[in-house]
Amino acid sequence: GAGVSQSPSNKVTEKGKDVELRCDPISGHTALYWYRQSLGQGLEFLIYFQGNSAPDKSGLPSDRFSAERTGGSVSTLTIQRTQQEDSAVYLCASSLGGGGTEAFFGQGTRLTVV
C-alpha cells in the first residue's frame, strides 16, 4: 500500500480481555516500530524490528505485551489481560532502516479498556 496501515482504528475491550493490533508497513521497509501515545506522555517506545535481527523489546512495559513480525512484513502487537492503564493510541511506523531515514507512521489504533 501507499502508507502504513493499522487495524482496527478503534478498539474498545473489557478489562482482562486480550487484544491484537495489526500493522501493515510500507512495502520494502525493513524497520518497523511500535509506539504508545498517551495524553501528556508523548510517544513511548515499545518495540523495534529490523530485518531478521532479534527485536529490541526494551520498551515493552510488562510481560502482558508481546509483538511479532511475520515474514519481515506484517506485525501484530498483542496485549494480554488488558488493564485500564493500557488505554492509549498505539502507533506503528516503518522505515527503510538506518539512522537517517524517515519513519512513516500509521494513523494508529485507539484502544479503550473499560
Binding site: 501528556g40 508523548g42 529490523q50 502507533l91 532502516g97 539512522g99 524517515e102 507512521f105 500509521g106 494513523q107
Partner: protein
Amino acid sequence: AQSVTQLDSQVPVFEEAPVELRCNYSSSVSVYLFWYVQYPNQGLQLLLKYLSGSTLVESINGFEAEFNKSQTSFHLRKPSVHISDTAEYFCAVIKVSGTYKYIFGTGTRLKVLA
C-alpha cells in the same frame, strides 16, 4: 541511553507572530535529530531533520531548526505562524549507529490564535 526534553507542553501564539519550540536532548553518542508534526486527527509526519552538514535546516512550510551541539539543543522556529500551523510537534533523536530506535519528547502543542 538517549532522552529528549520538550519543556513546553503548550504554546499559544497569535497569528503572524514568531514562535520557538524548544528541544533539548541527552546522549553519550552522536545522534540524528528530527521534528515530527501531528495535525489534528492526523498521523505523525516528518517536518525536518538534521543529519550532518549545515546546522540550520528548513522545512517547506517555513519552519527551521538549528542544531547546537554545545547546548545539545534543536529548537524549532518560525518567524510568522499561521492558523494552519496549529498542531502537536515532537522532537526526536536516533543514534547514528547501532540500534535505530527513535526516542521522542513529550510533544509541544502549538495553538495559533486569530
